[in-house]
Amino acid sequence: MSSYTQKKGFGATVWDYITTVDHKKLAVMYLLAGTLFFAIAGFEALLMRIQLMKPNNDFISAGFFNELLTMHGTTMLFLAATPLLFAFMNMLVPLQIGARDVAFPFLNSLGFWLFFLGAVFLHLSFFMGGAPDAGWTSYASLSLYSPGHGIDFYVLGLQISGAGTLISGLNFIVTIITMRAPGMTFMRMPLFTWTSMVSSSLILFAFPPLTIGLLMMLFDRMFGGNFFDHMMGGNTIIWEHLFWIFGHPEVYILVLPAFGLFSEIIPAFSRKRLFGYSSMVFATILIGFLGFMVWAHHMFTVGMGPTANAIFAVATMAIAVPTGMKVFNWILTIWGGSIKVTTPMLYALGFIPSFVAGGVTGVMQASAPLDYQLHDSYFIVAHFHYVIVGGIVTALFGSAHFYWPIFFNRMLNETLGKWTFWVFFIGFHLTFFLQHFLGLMGMPRRVFTYMDGQGWDQFNYISTVGAAMMGVGVIMMVINCLMSIKGKPAGRDPWGDGRTLEWSIPQPIPFYNFRQTPLVRGLDPWWIEKQEGNKEVTFAEPIGDIHMPNNSAIPFVISLGMFIAAFGALYNPDADKPWSIYVLIIGLAITFGAMITRSVKDDHGFHLHKEDILEIEEHLYGKGGNK
């Protein structure tokens, strides 16, 4: 069985990545794809900031600016933040619960390819007649009025990538429910696993309303439906409700795993278990639950009436309570600990004040009558960037440093990492702090330009300077990542302060993760073993056969079929493109053909025997290594 240890050629490696169902390889693919889209969306933001640097600027035209703001928001939320968090979830959740893979490896791969090809489809709009231009919220009256195919790209692209996200979310939940190692009870699960599970449940309940909303828009735009046409009895407010029933939980879908990541980083570098673990779990679930009760606070000015506004205002404020619990628990984890200021810890420390600042402006906007002033002004732009950059992006950057050795068996450079942090962090506050005041001074959001003499010039200029600093920070981060290729292998538990199971695995991690399933004896199992002077975790089983899933190209083919079909659907309403219907049929035929192949062909996976395992480990760790 030397096929496990052979070196592969380039073509074989590419094929391996297209067909892989290994959660670790998929995590790397999510990481790369997410970074790509993060860079694209960041570049779009820079273009917009340049345009707004001075009044009456003509760097970018009005229509193109709207395309940029739409694609920036859509890409950052759906195609950058989500996959980057999925990268960490994919990599860490099975390792943290002591599993050899996720519950549905095949679906894991399908989820990735649907997301990725949907994202590519959406971005092709730039080269095929214009990107969507109705904002990431795509409110119905404007999106139905919008000419060209931009909105159609939005609808179909999000439908496909949304299906991928949904599939992945379902997969994580089942994995966490059924695949935990012996002894890994729910209340011993690392907090990142907990937040991943709650966040996945949110995905499960939040994405279907979006799916339906997008379907309705598809019907209205392509098949003459009347959901949002008020002349025909339709109602555009339905779209707003459906969108925000999805859109508000989406914020928590992203921020909860970020909380989880910090709940791993802070205890590790404080050398202290997480303070109030059970109340952290409770707060996570409560935030997830309340997250569904508050969507209409995005619609205070829509005219829902005072009763609805008052209810949603108070409900929204309630979310501040569990969030506050979390913040205090983090601080109390630091209190009395032994704090090592590494780059990930620096991000965690920068996160706390930034995120609290974003949170309190959230409470201000929850005050409905005050929100009449703040809504759709630059104040809200400042608020959600404080939450998303201050909460989620810092989590992603910090955990990239923290978990780089798990992903690639390499460390990122600490000195450069700290420099990156300061450049990015200062740039971030420079960009967004003053935007609160721009909003209060009457500047509406989503404006492509502004006249002078309104008192906004200076702050906008400073904001653009800050954005440039953030750009430099991101480039420094990418350089750091690229430099790590040449670095030394990091080895097992390179920070020395790892607490959870993922740090107990020898590096590089074999594709079956655990040679023997570990036995979990408490919260922070690896910390417990280390405190008892053990060099290995306790095992729950002797070395024996390991059952692993087969690779498969079918997920890629299914997604490719959808990708092709989407072009057919897109051009179908055009009278001058009669070929589009055939494209649609061919695409759907590919997808269904692949699905039927999947269900007709048995896939039992394969077994690794003891001698294969020993051979692989000898190859990875040298003779007699890692006993």
């Binding site: 059970s278 205002a313 209190w335 032994s338 009558p369």
Partner: protein, 362 residues
């Protein structure tokens, strides 16, 4: 590390100073300098929440900095294993109850004000003769301009809202094409103009606008509505009640005013040929015109809501409106030429003079 912290402190100091230096924005545009009851109460809420929230940020930051300074590994020793504390019920209760109390302090004024701002019952009150007692303005938002109809007075204008000071002015808001949002930052919060239903709210204007820099308050569209969303500005002129009544009378007196195709004035003739189809020049009547009513054009503060108010910009606008407001409906569907065709320079010249002369105040 500490060096970095100092830098951060210096920077925040700088930021705070800058905010003070540039004040709170302009009094015709800033929510921080309100000229009316609604805006004032919103500012009060802003101050209340800001004080409480700043308190929260300060408390969190102080504890956190203290923890951070006290417990760095360099201080506590490299090999120290801290006590693995599980948690504390007392502390959990404290930091659950205190935020709840703080939120209740905010929630009470929030709920009462929400109901107060939504109270538009007075809109339908009538006096003994059956006339409505409150002033109502029907606002229709259209692709990149605003129509203001005064149903009880039977007059209509556009782009520049004229209202009296010192009384509640009620608004009926609707959009004619896509969704917009009606916002006068210095007077009070916004309300969306939906396409399918009428939204109602009120504002109070305290200050006469003639003392302001441009003599008007600035109004904005706050909901993304297409390429020219950023340019969909309007202005608000507030008059004393007497001056407002005089203005209403002047508007009513323009009843039947029109342009004559056979006029010897080239401007009027051109207007009658090319513009009158969409733009009325009588302020009497109801709304619903395809283009803004131009009766008070000479009295206004801006051309097209945002360009300087002079004949030069008006001529440039007439020549190619699409250049200034992309996507506006004075252009044909392809956006290549104005729907009224190409006018000669001479005609545009005369037309600008004529339109600038339309006034009820002069």
């Amino acid at each position: 590390m500490m060096k970095g912290l100092k830098k951060w402190r210096l920077f925040s100091l700088l930021a705070v100073m800058m905010v003070f230096l540039s004040g709170c924005g302009e009094d015709y545009l800033s929510t921080l300098k309100p000229s009316g009851e609604v805006g004032q109460q919103q500012l009060n809420l802003l101050l209340l929440t800001t004080v409480i929230m700043t308190l929260v940020v300060v408390v969190v930051s102080v504890i956190y900095l203290l923890a951070f300074v006290k417990y760095r590994r360099a201080r506590v020793g490299e090999n120290v294993i801290p006590k693995q504390v599980e948690g504390s019920h007392t502390l959990e209760v404290i930091w659950t109850v205190i935020p709840i109390i703080l939120l209740l302090i905010i929630a009470v004024p929030v709920v009462t004000t929400t109901y107060k701002f939504a109270d538009v019952a007075a809109m339908d009150e009538v006096d003994e003769e059956g006339n409505k007692t409150a002033l109502t303005v029907n606002v229709t938002a259209k692709l990149y301009w605003w129509e203001f109809e005064y149903p009880n007075q039977g007059i209509v204008t556009a782009q520049e809202l004229v209202v009296p000071t010192g009384e509640k002015v009620y608004f009926n808001l609707i959009a004619a094409d896509v969704k917009h949002s009606f916002w006068i930052p210095a007077v009070g919060g916004k309300m969306d103009t939906n396409v399918e239903n009428v939204n109602k709210f009120y504002l109070v204007f305290d200050k006469e606008s003639q003392d302001l820099k441009d003599g008007v308050f600035y109004g904005k569209c706050a909901e993304l509505c297409g390429p020219s969303h950023a340019l969909m500005d309007f202005k608000v002129k507030t008059l004393s009640p007497d001056a407002f009544d005089a203005w209403v009378d002047a508007m009513k007196a323009t009843e039947g005013q029109t342009a004559d195709k056979a006029s010897t004035d080239l401007g009027e003739a051109t207007f009658a040929n090319s513009c009158l189809g969409c733009h009325a020049i009588s302020g009497s009547g109801a709304g619903g015109a395809p283009g803004p009513n131009l009766t008070t054009f000479g009295d206004r503060n801006r051309v097209a809501g945002f360009l300087e108010h002079n004949e030069e910009s008006l001529k440039a606008w007439i020549k190619n409106p699409g250049e200034f407001k992309p996507g506006n409906l004075m252009m044909n569907a392809e956006g290549t030429a104005p729907i009224y065709g190409d006018l000669s320079d001479e005609e545009i010249e005369a037309l600008a003079t004529y339109i600038m002369g339309l006034s009820v105040e002069k």
